[in-house]
Symmetry: C2
Subunit: 515 residues, 2 copies
């Protein structure tokens, strides 16, 4: 892969003379204007202070660290052109639950290392709502802000040390998070985000000096956080679009970030339509009784043994099973349905399940792992309640896809050239299972592509590609955000999607061979 | 005078709604874009932090303090629309010798008060050269910078207190000084200014947060220093052009700032030609033996009694005479020449001066005030050496004017619609005297206009008029700066101008009636 010319460049400044007495700063501007094809350059005062002696001792050359935002190109720092100091950037995925930082060599574009850690704001509250409420207390906002900033500083420091770098080597920070997390990271009031009519304080944060945000990197470093479109459409999703290149596709593609909220964007280089809707908590761990986030012993894959028809499981690190994660749950539902243990209405079939089904307090339970094979000493069961919750979630997801692709964009699912699945959870979903239960549309398997952490991915793109900023601004401009109207039509579509795979079975032709 | 709409405005922000979920910051931007007809708005992060609650408690209105520089409009601060807090600006003339600050009410545009004080950098060295040399020592630059900043803070504090204002009321600072003083005020390296090829560090300093310059005003305040054109053509002169409106005249006008350096600009709305040249130290106090700056007892006016032909004097505060200032010196030379005590070669005439002339160590002295009437107990005398120095200065001034007006702009002196005399010293010059000795051209007296402190005047204009910045940038663009070539042609012109009033006496027809 050929590395594009990024934010670190060697700049040649014309030598001054009696016939050209232009000041050093303006000659540097002229040189950058030519090299960057721009009219707008900003050189901070602190770089001017020693510019004359630096330029002369560097023979009118400089290794420049640059950045570009919606206003202008910014000269972040100027270094001796023969210095071999590392010039790094940090990308951050500012998740509500988990934060991931990544260290990038700005010259090679290569990733040096990555580190994930829990968002320490969880001690205040597990979700956005609780944290924003807390932010209204005296010092609450500052406390939330410090928690996340300190955690980033601490982990960054460790990541640097592990890889033999100094914090002073980091000049650019690019962060993407949902709208609330972005506000808390910047330390700006965020309570209007959760109050009708749901107004963020800022859509497009400007580039900030890192020191103003107390981020412990090079003293001249700058920080940019991805813009949002509204309270419910954050910079993380814009970063995802950037990372997936949805905005540069000729044919329409779709990107789906599956989580508590399903965030969906469909479009191409000419148009983008986005919507977000509650896809149901069943898809994320920690909600159903047996559900949990990925850790050793958690069931992450379930399939039917083709010979015996038995349900087979795989656990993380192949430890004794202790629970099941979201992707395992989808596999399990698919396996239960394909083996007819669950009927098209999503109900356990007593006839097929046999003695693996028991009833307690009027609720049916399916025993996935008996207590002898369980890591907890208790059987691992799926209740009808959990399954109903999953059914609602998968139906909500399919309905959202149907609304945005068919009703809004006027396309058929088959028109989608690519179906990007973003988000850590999405990475583990087996499309075949998701199709089998009617959660994802029955399109060619090659259409599906896992993006991984697309929020972090987009933040990394911004560190490497000076054209990314314009794309971000264009993405913001070209997105039509549609509110999901939960009206009668939606409810009818949703009802159809609550069947396995759907009341309109013709939509899932590939299932005919499996069942 | 109708006050133009300045930098303090009441902004109405559209109320948010479920159908317009644009963020507060972007709605503020939209509103400012419409009101200011601009695309570029900058809102600092610290104003965002409380923007949501402020806007809501202010009913979506704000009293905004704005500023405009070459990049964008800057939102300096946002205040409660019903607050009656004063919003002030400070203009500074950053002179090498003397600094003058002026407090302006940004809403009415009226001046609240003014304060002048000596530039404390004089303890380091009296002139630019000495100070810039000092700036190369360890901490020298910082020391020079602190001296001037501390003095401004101290005097500003006093000026505020005298007028019943707080330092926090000051939001905008506009400063004009020569290129070296501007660099030292910003704390940036300045030694290349005095070294061939005389390159400033910066031509166009950006607007800076006041706190970055340690200026003790409102914490959100910003500072702008006038741009320069080169090491020898400073922001003070650009401010002067702005103040004189030279850049908006239909017919050509001239502005002359008389001092150690004579700085001359001629032009109109279409073109501007500038040059600067040493007009000789004789025009400023403190150089000739009897010369001194204005203070009580200093002779500031000299004239011939029409009845007796005696030389009459006036002193500042009408105290006993102790010396003479520049304007008095020009009057004196004119009186001596018109009364034939000095001949056309600028030499004392023993025949006319009689016993008021004496010789000591081969140098002739003219007794202006005998020791009985002197405030020093010694006679106040003008030596031939002092007079020669004045003759050189007046000849240099006339030659510079001739070079720029006739040889460069291709005009006659009579074509000049206005002849602006700028600078504190210039304010006191009697044009009749200056014409009599051939220092200024013999044009209609109504053509001459005294501008006073035009550097401070220009700095004040910038505080009141949002269009001033564009004018400043246009002035910079349209100025052709000519180097005075001291070649044979110049020397010939200079030789002619060393006569009283000139070898070509036909140039001074008005003198015929006086002699």
């Amino acid at each position: 892969m050929i590395q594009k010319i990024g934010f670190v460049r060697t700049i040649l400044v014309e030598n001054p003379s009696l016939t050209d007495n232009t000041a050093d700063a303006q000659r540097l501007e002229q040189s950058l204007r030519r090299q960057l094809s721009t009219d707008e350059i900003r050189i901070p005062l602190k770089l001017l202070k020693k510019l004359p002696s630096n330029l002369r001792s560097w023979d009118f050359r400089a290794r420049a660290v640059l950045f570009k935002d919606r206003h202008s190109w910014i000269v972040v720092d100027l270094l001796d052109p023969i210095s071999n100091q590392s010039i790094l950037g940090m990308a951050i995925d500012i998740g509500t639950t988990r934060i991931v930082i990544s260290l990038i060599d700005l010259e090679s574009g290569l990733e040096i290392g990555q580190k994930g850690f829990d968002n320490p704001q969880a001690v205040i509250g597990p979700d956005i709502l609780a944290r924003i409420h807390y932010s209204r207390q005296t010092n609450g906002l500052a406390e939330l802000n410090q928690l996340v900033i300190n955690a980033v500083n601490l982990n960054l420091s460790a990541l640097c040390e592990e890889n033999g770098y100094k914090k002073e080597d980091i000049y650019l920070v690019s962060g993407a998070g949902n709208t609330a997390m972005t506000h808390l990271f910047l330390g700006i009031e965020s309570f209007e985000i959760i109050k009708e009519p749901y107004i963020p304080c800022v859509n497009i944060p400007d580039t900030q000096p890192a020191c103003d945000l107390n981020l412990d990197i090079n003293e001249n470093g700058v920080v940019f956080l991805f813009p949002n479109i509204g309270s419910y459409f954050g910079g993380d999703l814009i970063a995802g679009i950037l990372f997936s290149n949805l905005d540069q596709k000729q044919d329409p593609c779709i990107m789906v970030d599956v989580g508590t909220n399903a965030e969906v964007v469909v479009g191409n280089q000419d148009w983008l339509i986005a919507c977000a809707g509650a896809a149901g908590p069943a898809l994320e761990g920690g909600v159903s009784k047996m559900g949990m986030t990925a850790k050793p012993g958690v069931i992450d894959k379930v399939w039917i043994d083709p010979d015996t028809g038995d349900l087979m499981i795989h656990t993380i690190d192949e430890k004794k099973p202790v629970g099941i994660c979201g992707s395992g749950m989808i596999d399990l539902a698919a396996g239960l349905f394909l083996s007819k243990r669950v009927d098209i209405r999503g109900k356990f079939s007593k006839q097929i399940c046999g003695d693996r089904l028991f009833e307690k307090d009027g609720i049916k339970y399916f025993i996935l792992v008996d207590k002898n094979h369980s890591g907890t000493g208790e059987p691992i069961c799926l209740s009808q309640v959990d399954l109903n919750s999953l059914t609602s979630s998968k139906a909500a997801m399919y309905t959202i896809l149907e609304v945005i692709v068919k009703n809004t964009a006027g396309l058929e699912f088959e028109d989608l050239q690519k179906f990007y699945v973003a988000g850590t959870f999405g990475s583990f979903i087996n499309p075949v299972s998701a199709i089998s239960i009617g959660m994802l549309p029955d399109i060619h398997l090659e259409t599906f592509e896992v993006l991984g952490n697309s929020s972090l991915g987009g933040a990394k793109v911004l560190l490497k590609d000076p054209d990314a900023f314009e794309r971000i601004m264009k993405i913001r401009q070209s997105i039509t955000y549609i509110e999901l109207n939960v009206n009668q039509e939606f409810m009818n579509m949703f009802s159809g999607a609550k069947f396995y795979p759907h009341t309109d079975r013709a939509r899932f032709p590939s299932l005919e061979n499996m069942i």
